[in-house]
Symmetry: C2
């Protein structure tokens, strides 16, 4: 983005206006609804006959990410797509994005350019225009705030509160792997910190990617449209399956019965789990950051959904009075809890 | 917002879901376009026949605010209204807002409740619905990110790039006072820090309020509509008059000639300036954070605008080749510079 010899230029030399110019000069708006992007007091969007869907997320260094093992490009990508995931969970399509960053003096222009490379890659892959933002200083560390804007026609939007008794509970992909990837990185950081040896992580490429570079499931939203199936409720899995299931049940005033044996867990996740003594199922239920979609569909969709390899049916919705419960591998019933860490 | 005996509850006791509940349980949506607010993956907005205008700002502790002398309620209010100011500067009306905060362990629920009191007050005063957000931890300090969403019909929107030669350059209110208020607070912080005596600041109520609790000029947007005058360009003054004038000139590919004698400066601002040896004019040109509107109107509006006490005509637009210049009190011409601190 800058001439080679400027790569490690100090942010204070470049100044705020120089930084904004560097970060935005390559932007071209692609969506017809993105009328005016960066460069004025606000962006202007046009949504004839559609509804606007909007979400925001704030990530702070040391809490949401650790720059010791998180490449800045991956961080930028992830910061963007976790917001797209929220829009997909509404059955809406992401169209525009605004980003604000606050940076301490330790960051060079090269580092910021890498962060933005990831952001631009995410925007390109998901057809999103960057239309605004704010760049400023911070006393310590990096803070990233992203707002994503999507569109949907009124009848397409899917909320959390529409689940009905007997609806099938479905999840896309598999669960728990992002959490296991994080555990691996944390473990290797400690080993690397004490021995100075570069860790060997080749055999765990999948779970690392699941943590560092998640892909939100726009493909599932697209697939359900093609199959002519509209979910009755939907949410993305950012805090773990238990927590998200409880959100759907609470919002829909229903209960649920899910089967541990049906929850999709990747073999690499199970393998890592054995190494560090965390059950794959516990990671799936409570680990979070999988960014898969959890949704309910009418029982009548069973024939079609049951054939799709990318979707697992893990249980069904029951009356609120029957509780929110899990059938374990041994057949016993336990109550689902949000963010509990008790293995069963 | 919480029972009295819970006032200083620790954030970790309350938990994220508890905090979100505390902060959002009083929300009622008032704008017909605010279909769904907090409580799902994203907010849903309806803008039939309108265009959506969106802006975002990120404020970090130690850079944008100092909690030693900034009451949290004022901070919340200001964080919200500076975003409304950006929408007014587009000639749009604010309708919805999303807020994300990241907090370190030093904050109590009582402190957060105070911050939100200011946010709710701003929303109420300007008719804005809070429709979403994110609450999380930070390693140090408080970070606030706000995204504001407004609406306008297509032909109403005013950009920075429409100024024409001979257009009148106008500003609302007066300039430099917010900067002088900040200087006063910084000075008293030092005195208080060394003597322990509570500072006397009663005689400077106006400039303090201008810094701590600015009011964006929605009233000017309304007035111009009533007068049937549509500005040819507009921007809000967040970085100082010089910087904002240069933005309008650059975007419009024009020059400007402004008169120092016409720039509106409050007597209290001048008085404080004498005490601390900073010229009121320099504060007006470079101080920033006034959140007044700077706009251009056709020469034909002179009769009407000239009579309005809340608006000052400070100069006019010229051809780009004539430069961007200021006529000083002594009649000499100087080039306008962004963020320069050289007195003339």
């Amino acid at each position: 983005m800058k001439p080679e010899n400027d790569k490690h230029a100090n942010l204070s030399e470049l100044g705020e206006f120089g930084l904004i110019k560097m970060l935005t000069e390559k932007i071209t708006l692609k969506n017809p609804g993105s009328l005016v992007g960066v460069g004025d007091d606000a962006a202007v969007l046009d949504y004839p006959d559609k509804q606007v869907v909007v979400t925001t997320d704030l990530l702070t260094e040391g809490i949401h990410f650790d720059l010791v093992y998180t490449p800045l490009k991956h961080l930028g990508y992830k910061a963007a797509v976790i917001n797209f995931s929220d829009l997909f969970a509404m059955n809406a399509l992401p169209r525009q994005m605004l980003i604000s960053i606050a940076l301490s003096a330790k960051f060079t222009t090269q580092m910021i350019a890498e962060l933005y490379e990831g952001i631009y890659l995410a925007c390109e892959r998901y057809g999103v225009d960057l239309v605004g933002g704010d760049t400023s200083s911070s006393v310590t560390g990096l803070t990233i705030s992203i707002t994503a804007i999507g569109e949907a026609v009124k009848d397409e939007i899917v909320y959390r509160n529409g689940a009905k008794v007997n609806d099938l509970i479905c999840v896309s992909g598999n669960l728990g792997s992002a959490y296991m990837g994080l555990q691996l990185l944390e473990r290797e950081k400690k080993i690397f910190g004490s021995t100075g040896q570069q860790p060997e992580m080749d055999e765990y490429g999948y779970i690392l990617e699941r943590h560092l570079k998640p892909e939100p499931r726009g493909d599932i939203v697209q697939l359900l449209r093609e199959l002519n199936i509209k979910p009755t409720s939907m949410i993305d899995i950012s805090d773990g399956l238990s927590s998200e299931l409880l959100h759907i049940c609470t919002a829909s005033k229903k209960g649920c019965l899910v089967y541990a044996s049906k929850i999709p867990i990747d073999p690499e996740t199970e393998k890592m789990g054995k190494e560090i003594n965390i059950d794959g199922l516990v990671a799936a239920l409570n680990g979070g950051e999988d960014y898969e979609l959890l949704f309910t569909v009418p029982l009548s969709a069973f024939e079609i959904i049951g054939k799709r390899p990318e979707i697992s049916i893990i249980g069904h919705i029951v009356d609120e009075s029957e509780g929110k419960r899990l059938v374990t591998q041994t057949g016993s019933l336990v109550d689902l809890k949000a963010q509990g860490w008790k293995a069963f």
